[in-house]
Amino acid sequence: MVDQTLAAFIQEGVGIHIGTRNERFEPNGARALAATVDAEGRELVVYLAEAAAARLLPDLRANGQVAVSFGRPVDDRACQIKGELVNVRAAEPHEREKIRGQFESFLNNLELIGIPRAGGANWITWPAVAIRLRATAVFEQTPGPAAGKPMS
């Protein structure tokens, strides 16, 4: 579902947002901090701050529907993965370094387009939760007429 090239892009430290919806089909969403893709490219773990998880977890537990967008500020390359919830757990202390590393890369990327690192300096990155999801579809999302086309 997610090939190695795309997995590398997802894990390089890009802007990540996770979307859910409630029982009234009202959308919900939050900024996520980091993501990893398993070796088969079927499942992802998306990390987000507990502060953000509080408003998404009721949706996820109720219906399991999830959408995650990945975008690189410097060239606006972007994709979106649709999926279903597998499980939710608290992020382990040994994962903190990985989360911080990807998040720092994202701030570096923002800096390349003239946005000071200080802008994200107060964003909360810990404690975090790990959301495992099964990818069901991958879509191109780089701005332009091809945005929205399936990638796999």
Binding site: G19, V66, A67, Q80, G148
Partner: protein, 461 residues
């Protein structure tokens, strides 16, 4: 928390990417990046609709949306819960959003590749701070380029007015306006362009704050910020230009893959990395007198208040420029004709030790080339050629605007020929590219041709 939409004005400048969350009728959520969120009124925002993407299809069947915007000053994230109300395909809101998209695209040389299909207007149901995106101290003082903030005080207006009152020619007026915008208001980088005798073309007649003054640089209507302002006859304000350009270039790459080719263009001189631009049409009773462009390397330099104030100021500047053009023209009527001197009065190509300039007039292209380097084209080129040949043939070194107006060979427009603007442009181009040849004002409507070089004249078909 009671937060008003107006208090989030800086979030709507497009400096930082926004995120749009929607949901389909089947209950599948969607998360997508947004190029721009526009403030409409205290209870509404507008999102640009450029492509029939999944977000747009979702909204057509389920009007609920969530937008995550960031305050570029503090880094604080905000969640706006929205309800779709209507799509606008014309009117002031649509025009403003379409112009912004086209201006950025045009600046990148990609005009026409993407267009706004509609401005989608949403009611803002609630505004909440995003708890994971906590803000800090405003970044303005910490990490932005220090630049004095423009203050439209009565004192600044009075100072600019006095400068304008003192100006006694179009040249000093243009310089006074640009100097006033810099010194009285803090707008350091500015350009004034005027329409040429060629339909749909603007030419730069003055600039301030650049290494190269760029006088003579032309731009077609619809190209770049100045061209877009001239075409639309409406002001354009852009912040976060760099991010907008990246977005446009990303679209271009995608479009290129689909076989759409952009039209290449040569950019106007300006800042290497502009972040904010403001273009204002200078109009008098609907007639485009000039275009004023301001730019800055600061991301959020021109605020909405600045645009409104500059628009008001623009009306005054337009009248001042047009008034000066009319005054100079009226003065021509009273200026006596200059008698032609005998050829021997001013020797041509005789002084020892002077450099020699080979000047070629290309008839078909109507352009003048000096020592193999392009100087100027169109009407200013025809004027220069007439002056130089009069000098070479009869030794004349003084001319009046009036005789140029009466000279049918120059083919000036009967009505509003803007001769003074053309002479100013010619004078500045000579100063920049060929300072050995000078046009020196001697009285209103009269000027001298002063040569510090020998000249060789040649025409080419």
């Amino acid at each position: 928390m009671n937060v008003t939409l107006e208090s989030l004005a800086t979030c709507f400048q497009g400096l930082l990417p926004a995120q749009l969350f929607t949901c389909s009728l089947e209950g599948v959520p969607n998360a997508a990046y947004l190029s721009h969120v526009d403030y409409v009124d205290p209870t509404h925002v507008a999102l640009s609709f450029q492509f029939f993407n999944k977000s747009r299809r979702n909204i057509a069947e389920n009007p609920h949306a969530l937008v995550n915007v960031l305050d570029p000053d503090t880094g604080q994230g905000w969640l706006l819960r929205l309800l779709f109300e209507r799509s606008e395909t014309e009117g002031p809101l649509f025009d403003r959003m379409a112009l912004r998209i086209e201006a950025i695209a045009s600046y990148c040389g990609l005009k026409g590749i993407f267009k706004l299909r509609a401005a989608d207007v949403y009611k803002v149901v609630s505004i909440e701070p995003s708890p994971e995106e906590q803000g800090g101290q405003p970044l303005t003082e910490q990490s932005r380029t220090p630049e004095p903030h423009a203050i439209f005080t009565m004192k600044a207006m009075q100072d600019l007015t006095e400068r304008i009152q003192r100006a006694d020619s179009l040249e000093t007026l243009v310089d006074s306006i640009l100097a006033g915008l810099d010194e009285d208001f803090g707008f350091r980088h500015s350009t004034i362009l005027v329409p040429t005798d060629e339909e749909g073309v603007l030419v730069t007649i003055g600039s301030r704050g650049y290494a190269e003054n760029g006088v003579g640089a032309e731009v077609r209507f619809g190209e770049g910020i100045a061209g877009m302002v001239a075409e639309a006859r409406k002001p354009i304000r852009i912040s976060g230009l760099m991010r907008g350009m990246l977005y446009a270039l990303a679209m271009h790459r995608e479009a290129g893959h689909l076989g759409i080719s952009p039209r290449l263009r040569i950019p106007l001189p300006g800042l290497a990395n502009p972040e904010s631009q403001l273009g204002i049409p200078l109009l008098v009773r609907g007639e485009l007198v000039a275009v004023l462009c301001l730019e800055s390397e600061v991301q959020y330099r021109f605020h909405e208040d600045d645009k409104v104030s500059i628009e008001l100021l623009g009306n005054y500047l337009a009248i001042a420029i047009q008034n000066m053009q009319l005054q100079e023209r009226m003065a021509d009527v009273q200026a006596p004709q200059v008698a032609e001197r005998p050829q021997s009065a001013v020797p041509v190509a005789s002084a020892v030790g002077k450099p020699r300039r080979e000047i070629v007039y290309h008839v078909a292209d109507e352009c003048v080339v000096v020592d193999g380097e392009y100087l100027i084209r169109s009407l200013p080129a025809r004027i220069l050629w007439r002056l130089l040949t009069a000098f070479a043939d009869c030794g004349r070194d003084e001319f009046t605007n009036r005789e140029l107006r009466l000279d049918k060979s120059l083919n000036l427009p009967e009505y509003k020929d803007n001769l003074e603007s053309r002479l100013l442009l010619l004078r500045r181009r000579l100063e920049q590219k060929c300072p050995d040849i000078r046009l020196v004002p001697r009285a209103r409507g009269r000027f001298g041709l002063e040569l510090a070089c020998d000249i060789g004249l040649k025409t080419m078909p």
